[in-house]
C-alpha cells in the first residue's frame, strides 16, 4: 500500500524509518493539542499575557510564520505571472509550505482570541476601518486559494490518480492555476500589508505609528516588501534542508541561485525603504507625537541594537551576499544569506509586536517584560509539529519537487 502510493521513480525511505521520523512530531502535536485545550477550556490567563501585554507570542509568531509563508504567493507570482519557468521546480513545495504556514497561523489565532466561536462576527458585522478586518478577510480567502492550489499537488499522488474524475478535476484546476496565482498574489499582497498596517495605524503607540500613504501607513508597504524578500529565502532554505535531511538532490543549483537573486533584488528595496522610514519616524513622526525618540531606547540599550541589526546584518549583509555572483554560486553562502534574511524577518516582527508593547506610553509607567507560559509555547509547538507532519507526508506521497525524478536518474 505504502509502496504503491509513492510516485514512480522516486526513492523514499522505508516505511518504518519514515514512521520513526514522524513519531516525535506526532507526540509533540499531541502535547500541543493538550495545551491548546487548556487555554480554550480554562481561559487565557494560562498564557501569561496580561492587559498590558495583550498581544503576546502568538501574534509575533503569526506575523513571522505568515511572512515566511509568503514564499508561496511570491513564487506563484513569479512563475505564473512573470513566467520565471525555472521556479516550477519549487512551486509545489512553496505552495505546501504556504498552506502549512497559513492554516497553522489561523489555528493559533483561534486558540489565542478569547471567544473563537464569535470569530465569524467579523464577517457579519465588519468594521471596514479596522486593519484586522482586512487581515481576517484576506487570510481566510487566501487560505481558501492555497487549499485549491494544494489539492492538485495531493491529487498528483499515484493512488489518487487512478480516479479519473480526480484527474479531470486536477486538470481543470491547473487550467485556472494562473487565475488562482493571480488572486493569491493580490490577496496576500493585501494581508501581508494589512498585517503591517495592524501596527502602523496605532496612533496611541508612538513607537510603531508611521506616516501613511493614502489609507495605509508605511509599515503596510514595508511588510509586503519584507515578506516578498523573505519568502524566496525561506523556500531556498527549506528546499536545501529537505535535500540535506533526505540526502537527495531536489533542485538544480540555478534554482537556488535565482531564488537568491530574487531575494537579493527585493532586499535592496527593503533596506532602502526601511532606512528612510526609520529616519522619518525618528525625526518627525515620534517627536510630533510628543515623544523624544531617546525615550524609546533609554530604558534598554538592546532596543537600539536590534533596530540597527535588522537593517545591517539581517538586511544589508544578506543582500550583499545574494548580489555578489561569486558568493551566490556557492550553496553555503546562499544558505547563510537565506538564514540571515529569515532571521531579519523574525527580528523585525519581534520589534514591532513585542517591543511595542513593552514600551510604556503613560509617563509614570515603566518598561515591561513578558514570557509566554508553557501552555502558550505548547500551543505554538503544535503548529510546528503539524507543519512538519504535513510537509513530510506531502514530500513522501506527493511529488513536491518535479525535477527530483530526473535529477535522480542521472
Amino acid at each position: 500500500m505504502d509502496k504503491t502510493a509513492i510516485s514512480r521513480g522516486l526513492q523514499r525511505a522505508p516505511l518504518g524509518q519514515f514512521l520513526l521520523w514522524l513519531g516525535p512530531w506526532i507526540a509533540l502535536l499531541a502535547f500541543g493539542v493538550y495545551c491548546a485545550y487548556l487555554c480554550l477550556r480554562y481561559g487565557l490567563h494560562l498564557t501569561n499575557m496580561d492587559n498590558r501585554f495583550a498581544f503576546g507570542a502568538w501574534i509575533f509568531l503569526d506575523l513571522t510564520v505568515i511572512a515566511l509563508g509568503a514564499g508561496a504567493f511570491f513564487t506563484g507570482f513569479l512563475l505564473y505571472i512573470l513566467k520565471r519557468k525555472e521556479l516550477r521546480a519549487v512551486i509545489n513545495s512553496a505552495v505546501t509550505i504556504g498552506f502549512i504556514c497559513y492554516s497553522g497561523a489561523v489555528v493559533i489565532l483561534m486558540v489565542d482570541v478569547g471567544q473563537p466561536l464569535r470569530a465569524w462576527f467579523t464577517f457579519w458585522h465588519p468594521n471596514v476601518h479596522s486593519m484586522l478586518t482586512e487581515v481576517t478577510f484576506c487570510i481566510t480567502c487566501y487560505l481558501g486559494v492555497l487549499a485549491f492550489e494544494y489539492i492538485p499537488i495531493l491529487l498528483k499522488n499515484r493512488k489518487l490518480r487512478q480516479i479519473p474524475s480526480f484527474l479531470v478535476f486536477e486538470f481543470n484546476m491547473h487550467k485556472v492555476m494562473y487565475v488562482l496565482a493571480g488572486a493569491g498574489t493580490f490577496l496576500s499582497f493585501f494581508h501581508q500589508g494589512s498585517l503591517g498596517g495592524l501596527y502602523g495605524v496605532l496612533n496611541g503607540r508612538p513607537f510603531v505609528y508611521r506616516e501613511s500613504f493614502g489609507i495605509w501607513p508605511t509599515t503596510f508597504f514595508l511588510f509586503i516588501v519584507s515578506a516578498a524578500a523573505a519568502g524566496p529565502s525561506f523556500i531556498l532554505l527549506t528546499t536545501w534542508i529537505t535535500s540535506k535531511v533526505t540526502k537527495k538532490r531536489l533542485v538544480t543549483q540555478e534554482v537556488y541561485e535565482s531564488l537568491g537573486k530574487i531575494s537579493g533584488y527585493i532586499l535592496i528595496g527593503y533596506v532602502l525603504f526601511k532606512t528612510i522610514d526609520t529616519l522619518v519616524w525618528i525625526s518627525m513622526t515620534a517627536p510630533g507625537m510628543g515623544v523624544h525618540p531617546d525615550s524609546f531606547f533609554a530604558s534598554k540599550p538592546g532596543y537600539t541594537a536590534l533596530h540597527l541589526l535588522e537593517v545591517t546584518i539581517f538586511g544589508f549583509l544578506p543582500m550583499a551576499i545574494y548580489m555578489t555572483k561569486r558568493l551566490r554560486s556557492q550553496i553555503k553562502w546562499l544558505v547563510t544569506a537565506a538564514v540571515l534574511t529569515c532571521l531579519g524577518i523574525v527580528v523585525n516582527r519581534y520589534i514591532l509586536t513585542i517591543q511595542t508593547l513593552a514600551l510604556p506610553t503613560l509617563p509614570f509607567d515603566e518598561l515591561l517584560s513578558y514570557m509566554p507560559s508553557w501552555q502558550e509555547t505548547g500551543a505554538f509547538l503544535m503548529v510546528i509539529a503539524y507543519g512538519m507532519i504535513v510537509y513530510s507526508l506531502s514530500f513522501r506521497y506527493a511529488n513536491l519537487f518535479p525535477l527530483e525524478r530526473e535529477l535522480q536518474r542521472n
Binding site: 481561559g43 487565557l44 490567563h45 499575557m49 496580561d50 492587559n51 498590558r52 501585554f53 495583550a54 498581544f55 482570541v113 478569547g114 471567544q115 473563537p116 464569535r118 470569530a119 462576527f121 467579523t122 457579519w124 458585522h125 465588519p126 468594521n127 476601518h129 479596522s130 486593519m131 484586522l132 478586518t133 481576517t136 495592524l198 495605524v201 496605532l202 496612533n203 496611541g204 503607540r205 508612538p206 517627536p287 510630533g288 507625537m289 510628543g290 515623544v291 523624544h292 525615550s295 511595542t356 508593547l357 506610553t361 503613560l362 509617563p363 509614570f364 509607567d365 515591561l368
Partner: protein, 256 residues
C-alpha cells in the same frame, strides 16, 4: 465610521475632571466602580497587570530624593476620547463612539477577544477577562442587575456607568419631565470621599466640567497623541503638567 455621522441637535457630551491636588489615592473609586459594574474580586495569582480594574489609581512621582520627593495619585479610567484609537481598530464594531452621549461604548457581547483595542489604547484603560468571573459563594446576591456580567475572553472598559443614565431617563419619563444632568453621575464620582471628580455635560457651558476644562490647571495625559480625551486632570503643580506631557519632570518634549 461614527465620525461621519453628524451630532444630533442638543445631544450631550459627557466628560469628567479629576483634581489631582485633592486625590489621596484611597482607592474608594476603584472599589465603587467594581461594585457598581459587577467586577469580580481578584483571582488568586492576579496582579496589577492582569486584573480587571476599569478604574485604576496610579501613583506618579517626580523622581526626586527625600524630602523633595513628590507624588500625585492619578485615577486612570477610559478617557472617552473624541478620536478613540480603540474604536477604529475593532474588527467587528464592538467599540463605538456614541454620538448621542459622547461615550466610547464597549460592548463585551460583541467582542471576540482579539485585544487589538487594548494594544491601541495609550491609557491602558481597557481590561480583558482572563478568567471566568467568579464571586465568593453567595456574593452573587449583591450583583447589580442594571449591568451584565461579562464572560471570560472579552475586553471591557468604563462606559461612564451609562446604565445609570438609562435609569435616570426612565425615572424622568415616569415623572413626565426631562432628565436633569445631576441625576446621572457615575459610581466613582459618587464614591470619591474628597470630591475630586466632577462629571457632567461638556456641551453645557455652565456645567462644572466645562468650567473645569477651561481652567489653566487642566491638562490631559499624552495630549500630543491627539486622541482628544474627555477626561481632564487638574493640578496646580508644574511638575505634574510636565510629566503628563513628556514623562520628564521639568522638561518639555523636544521638537514636540
Amino acid at each position: 465610521m461614527s465620525r461621519a455621522k453628524e451630532k444630533p441637535e442638543g445631544a450631550p457630551r459627557y466628560a469628567m475632571t479629576i483634581d489631582l491636588d485633592k486625590c489621596t489615592g484611597c482607592g474608594a473609586c476603584m472599589v465603587a466602580c467594581a461594585v457598581e459594574n459587577n467586577v469580580p474580586p481578584a483571582q488568586s495569582g492576579a496582579n496589577d497587570r492582569n486584573g480587571t480594574t476599569l478604574m485604576r489609581v496610579y501613583a506618579m512621582s517626580n523622581k526626586q530624593a527625600y524630602p523633595h520627593a513628590k507624588q500625585v495619585f492619578v485615577p486612570m479610567t477610559c478617557q472617552q476620547c473624541e478620536d478613540p484609537p480603540c474604536e477604529t481598530v475593532c474588527p467587528q464594531n464592538a467599540v463605538e463612539y456614541d454620538w448621542t452621549t459622547g461615550i466610547v461604548a464597549q460592548i463585551p457581547v460583541r467582542c471576540l477577544g482579539c485585544r487589538y483595542c487594548m494594544v491601541a489604547c495609550p491609557y491602558h484603560a481597557r481590561a480583558f477577562n482572563w478568567w471566568d468571573p467568579t464571586w465568593p459563594e453567595g456574593m452573587e446576591a449583591t450583583l447589580n442587575p442594571d449591568i451584565s456580567t461579562r464572560s471570560r475572553g472579552t475586553a471591557e472598559k468604563c462606559n461612564f456607568c451609562h446604565h445609570r443614565r438609562q435609569l435616570a431617563r426612565e425615572r424622568a419619563a415616569h415623572e413626565d419631565r426631562e432628565m436633569r444632568e445631576d441625576e446621572y453621575q457615575p459610581a466613582c464620582v459618587e464614591a470619591c470621599p474628597v470630591g475630586a471628580i466632577t462629571f457632567g455635560n461638556l456641551e453645557d457651558p455652565n456645567s462644572a466640567v466645562s468650567k473645569g476644562f477651561a481652567k489653566p490647571e487642566a491638562f490631559a495625559f499624552v495630549e500630543k497623541l491627539g486622541t482628544e480625551p474627555k477626561i481632564r486632570y487638574l493640578s496646580s503643580q508644574k511638575w505634574v503638567h510636565d510629566m503628563a506631557r513628556s514623562g520628564v519632570p521639568g522638561k518639555e518634549a523636544t521638537n514636540g
